[in-house]
């Protein structure tokens, strides 16, 4: 190990390598109930040359490489399963390399955070915006994109994985590859060449959603969007347990809103910092936040008219629904709930607990009502209030279904894990596909995935990473 440390120090510099247990310990676990695991080293890279050398060294020593940015992924993805070297991209590889106004994209290093990007765009390119998550401002933009997170434009644009124009990666062979329209050029790419992902063979698929198992992403171009002048936000309040699904579907396919974020009453109460929030009989079951943007007043009026029409049609079907101005509601009710709108946000009530975990999944829209009912029963059986977060994706083509559990870290892991396992099993059986998936969950998935897919997956992994150095243990590799 001392010899390896010396080699790492030669690559990164003495101050950017640590094997001190005290330094390693904070990297050994995250907010989830996933079991902790210590790395052997943490390194802080600054450039590709260092990383190419690192990959070569890791292949030689057969030591795992675990990419890390801020460790907020809620899937235990940066916890080492078999020791190894954590590559902390968050501290120095965090530059916004280029913003292209003409073709609306930003070229980023992995460590760039949502807060950083928002501030940069607001200050320098206020006509453009990115799509921001209901997550702390210090989560990584690139991490979110390459793990197919979802943000506050998801009803329009879908998964953030779809917003990637191109990647620069370091492969298992230590080659630096640029993927996407940036693939022209020998040594360096033109910053203006990261404008599209297609129509060449889509090699992005070899890296997106692979949880760092196939290579190291060192640059990522993400699409930006016009920042319309006129912005409003509505909220619908639903009094039937599963009626919220009609909102996800019908409002989604009306193509007038940027996003539909639905949460149950317990989550709203949690956001307002009501201790141990539970729904009282007679209170509504769900609410959804509907941000709407428009270029002109007329456009806004037309969108609002459509929204009212959709809501009226739902009422005619007997659905009990209230449509209100969310920002006015926040002023009267509790300004804390504005965090649903002012993204990226610190979710204050989540930080009252030291642990947070979820079953985050892409879900088939037609099973959403059943999912809500079944997961509610599981929560009730465990005597834990249900916290549910849902989204309509890409005009309602599919949905996000995310039961959330906050808990006391170091005390309640076992209890939480049992609940989560039951939820995962039920949801996977109904067709849900977990994202940012912890290894114990992929084990469950493997049992129901078709063998051809698994064989192909294993072959690709083996081909891309013959020594299994890239984040081993993920997806049970």
């Amino acid at each position: 190990m001392e010899e390896l440390k010396e080699k790492l120090s030669t690559i990164f510099g003495k101050d950017r390598v640590t094997s001190n247990q005290v330094d390693l310990y904070p990297y050994s676990y995250d907010m989830t109930e996933c079991s902790p695991g210590m790395p052997d080293f943490v390194v802080i890279p600054e450039n590709n040359q260092q990383l190419v050398q690192l990959v070569s060294l890791a292949n030689e020593c057969k030591i795992p490489l675990i990419p890390y940015i801020s460790g907020n992924n809620v899937g235990g993805l940066t916890i080492p399963h078999h020791g190894g070297i954590i590559i902390d991209f968050g501290k120095k590889m965090n530059r916004i390399l280029h913003v292209n106004e003409d073709m609306m994209y930003a070229l980023l290093e992995p460590g760039v955070t949502f807060g950083q990007l928002k501030k940069y765009l607001d200050n320098n390119h206020s006509n453009l915006r990115y799509s921001y998550p209901f997550a702390p401002p210090y989560a990584s933009v690139v991490g979110n994109a390459i793990l197919s997170g979802m943000n506050n434009l998801s009803c329009k644009i879908g998964s953030m994985g779809d917003s990637i124009n191109g990647l620069e990666v370091i492969t298992g062979m230590g080659e630096i590859a640029r993927i996407g329209s940036c693939f022209y050029g020998k040594e360096h790419s033109d910053p203006g060449s990261w404008w599209c992902r297609y129509p060449m063979p889509d090699l992005l698929g070899l890296f997106v959603n692979w949880q760092g198992m196939t290579g190291l992403v060192t640059k990522c171009a993400v699409q930006l969007w016009p920042n319309p002048r006129i912005q409003k936000c509505y909220m619908v309040i639903m009094f039937g347990l599963t009626d919220i699904v009609d909102v996800l579907q019908e409002v989604g396919r009306s193509e007038i809103v940027d996003d539909i974020s639905a949460v149950n009453t317990e989550v709203i109460k949690m956001t307002c910092e009501i201790p141990e929030p539970v729904k009282i009989p007679g209170e509504p079951d769900f609410a959804a936040i509907l941000p709407i943007t428009a270029k002109t007043e007329k456009m806004m009026q037309a969108k609002e008219e459509i929204l009212h029409q959709v809501v009226d049609e739902m009422r005619e079907k007997g659905i009990q629904i209230l449509l209100i101005d969310f920002l006015e509601f926040a002023k009267i009710f509790n300004l804390r709930v504005r965090c649903y709108h002012d993204l990226p946000a610190v979710i204050l009530s989540l930080v009252e607990y030291s642990g947070l975990t979820w079953f985050g999944s892409y879900a088939p829209m037609h099973e959403m009502k059943l999912l809500i009912q079944k997961v509610y029963s599981i929560f009730n059986e465990h005597g834990i209030p249900p916290f549910i977060y849902m989204k309509s994706m890409k005009s309602g083509h599919y949905a996000i279904f995310r039961p959330i559990i906050r808990y006391k870290k170091f005390k309640e892991e076992k209890k939480v894990h049992m609940l989560l396992e039951e939820i995962a099993e039920t949801c996977i059986n109904l067709g849900c596909i977990p994202y940012k998936t912890p290894a114990w969950m992929t084990e469950k998935m493997r049992k129901v995935i078709n063998p051809g897919w698994l064989q192909l997956f294993e072959r690709i992994k083996k081909c891309m990473d013959p020594n299994n150095i890239f984040n081993p243990g993920r997806w049970n590799t």
Binding site: D15, R16, T18, N20, Q21, V22, D23, Y25, P26, Y27, D30, M31, V42, I44, S70, G71, N72, D88, K91, K92, T113, G115, Q116, K118, K119, P136, P137, Y138, V346, L348, L350, V351, E352, Y353, S354, G355, L356, K408, K409, F410
Partner: protein, 396 residues
């Protein structure tokens, strides 16, 4: 047990400080950068980079030590002591334990001193204070000579608590304060003060702090004073907050000089007759700003100075970049400490100001060190030095 919980035995006492964080921190990184401004704010994290050098990492280390995952050894020293305890993390953290992050770090230091030892060179603070009653190791001044020189009485309503840095190192701050207090004609005196205990508390070396505190309270009481004024932000924070934490019974109120000046200005009892045509920027001392929530009072005073144009640095008030001196860093990590001050002065340069003022002699020390070392070309002045240079109109 007397006063503050005995954190040296984590099995029984003091756990509440640490447990508070264990049960709250999800390591969301909000503490790392200024809230909603997304600016760099943690000198320690920005320098050493690894998670162990940020507040959330230190909370994790505390947990690891308490639950036995980590061993007490000298590898702990840098992550635990390379922190100015400036409180920028606390200003950004939105969790319920935010206000206690500095307490948590200090508790962790106290435990580390017991199990491993103090931070680099910090034992000198304790030894010098034990012997000489000040952390600089100077012969203790009982301030009699100063009292005689300035014709101060033995008993008075006010005591000017000079503080060790002003009394032994930044004497111009002390002399300007004495001169200014005489000009505004409040009845004050000096006492045979000992170190307020701040450097010991900040470095986890708490053995003799109660003795120092008792002494200071006694001599202030003996002077018949009901009010104490100090121009040192560190003394101010300690006399106000830490004496309370140790359940010290004070029969006097404590003011920072800026509070006193602002009060006189507000009541129309003080006017500035001469002017100073300068562009000035104000550096918020952590111990006055973030620790005591006094951001606007010094600014109100500066803005009332005829001819002065107050210009703000990019990071100011609760998100101000630390000067780099506090938390025992100046003695333990002198080179890094000055680097931090240099960054502050670089920021001051962007404002076009010629004077950098502050309200803490220790900030002045470090900013002045960086100013000289890197030829930054500023005039570094404590606010009281500026005030004392002006002609005053004092009304009774």
């Amino acid at each position: 047990m007397n006063g503050r919980p005995d954190l040296t035995n984590v099995q029984v006492n003091g756990r509440e400080y640490l447990e508070m964080a264990f049960n709250r921190c999800i390591k969301c990184s909000t503490c790392k950068y200024s809230y909603k401004l997304f600016d760099q704010s943690c000198p320690s994290g920005e320098k050493f980079l690894f998670e162990s050098y940020w507040a959330s990492g230190r909370i994790r280390i505390a947990k690891g030590l308490v639950n036995g995952d980590l061993a007490w050894n000298d590898k702990l020293i840098d992550p635990i002591f390379a922190c100015t305890t400036c409180g920028a993390c606390a200003a950004s953290c939105q969790a319920p334990h935010a206000d206690f992050i500095v307490d948590i770090i200090e508790s962790l230091r106290e435990l580390t001193v017991k199990h491993v030892g103090p931070g680099p060179h910090q034992e000198k603070i304790k030894e010098r204070t034990r012997v000489h009653k000040n952390p600089y190791g100077e012969d203790n001044s009982d301030n009699r000579a100063l009292k005689t020189k300035h014709g101060l009485p033995d008993k008075a309503e006010w005591v000017y608590f000079i503080g060790c840095t002003s009394n032994y190192r930044r004497k111009r701050v002390r002399d300007a304060t004495l001169s200014f207090l005489k000009k505004i004609d409040i009845g004050f005196t000096l006492v045979d003060e000992y170190c307020c205990s701040s450097p010991l508390l900040r470095t986890g070396q708490v053995e003799i702090v109660e003795e120092l505190m008792h002494h200071n309270i006694q001599v202030i009481n003996d002077a018949g004073a009901t009010k104490v004024v100090t121009s040192c932000a560190g003394c101010f924070r300690t006399l106000c907050k830490d004496y309370e934490k140790f359940n010290m019974e004070k029969r006097f109120e404590v003011y920072h000089l800026t509070d006193l000046v602002a009060d006189l200005l507000q009541k129309g009892k003080l006017e500035f007759k001469s002017s100073i045509s300068k562009q000035i920027t104000y550096h918020d001392p952590c111990h006055l700003g973030r620790h005591m929530n006094s951001f606007e009072t010094p600014r109100l005073i500066i803005q009332s100075l005829p001819g002065v144009n107050l210009v703000e640095m990019r990071r100011n008030r609760q998100h101000a970049w630390c000067c780099g001196a506090g938390g025992g860093v100046k003695i333990a990590y002198p080179d890094w400490s000055v680097e931090v001050a240099r960054e502050r002065l670089e920021e001051a340069k962007e404002t076009g100001a010629s004077i950098v003022t502050s309200t803490c002699p220790f900030c002045k020390t470090n900013l002045e060190d960086a100013n000289k070392q890197f030829s930054m070309g500023f005039q570094i002045m404590d606010l009281v030095e500026i005030l004392d240079n002006l002609e005053l109109n004092v009304k009774k």
